[in-house]
Symmetry: C2
Subunit: 141 residues, 2 copies
């Protein structure tokens, strides 16, 4: 853990540059539906989710993907930007109506380049990976 | 153009499986801020955007990325899911306070596998690419 070592000029492979646990709630999903236009009811209706055999209402994958990169964006601040981002959607995030879902992100340096770095995200929920091969290519100013 | 040829069992490389133009408005950005927790004011304040040298208020990259994949999700319906998704953020989308921003997505079959396909997105705004190397790996049921 090197959360105090935020200077991008001194990062090394394996350094943790950001770590955060965020809560996805049913509110978040409704807001994302409004933002994206994705009103698939499996993201806000328990009856529909159950009727199609799901364990419950699921977070939109793209919302999970979006919040997962936020700690890296915040770490970068004005020192750089996300140039490239990709993930594998390995498991759905079930959002409990009362508790929401607690998702943890650990952002670790995977590769250091010339003015660039690849940051690898470990994104878990209930101790299981929800986004696999989550890689953020960043460019520094 | 093969927009009527929606059956995933008969797709071939080069087929266009979906095409859509969507409008990002300032409303969309505010909703996405609320959904994601990303309240960077460059996404809703003209004064801040201008003060940091931007041509105007920008869409969150993750919102653009999210809406860009929606036509593929809709095309898939219950026939499959997005297993993997990655993009390069090549240009920002400036969202006019009155006009919003009109973003066009063309989703074309790039690779056909065994029960899978790679769908390549062309995502443009003002005739310029905003998401490069936008690749969606899909798995069919």
């Amino acid at each position: 853990m090197n959360l105090d070592k935020l200077d991008h000029r001194s990062i090394a492979v394996g350094d943790v540059v950001a770590e955060r646990t965020f809560s996805l709630t049913r509110d978040s999903l409704v807001r994302y539906a409004g933002a994206s236009g994705d009103f698939n009811p499996i993201h806000y209706r328990d009856d529909v989710a159950t009727s199609v055999g799901l364990p419950g209402v699921l977070a939109h994958g793209m919302l999970t993907m979006g919040v997962a990169v936020q700690p890296v964006v915040d770490w970068l601040g004005t020192n750089g930007w996300v140039a490239d981002y990709g993930v594998r959607f390995t498991r759905p995030v079930v959002v409990d109506p009362l508790e929401g879902a607690s998702v943890t992100v650990v952002a670790k340096v995977g590769v250091v380049g010339e003015g660039t770095a690849r940051i690898d995200l470990t994104v878990t929920y209930n101790n299981e990976t929800v986004l696999g091969k989550a890689q953020v290519q960043v460019t520094f100013r």
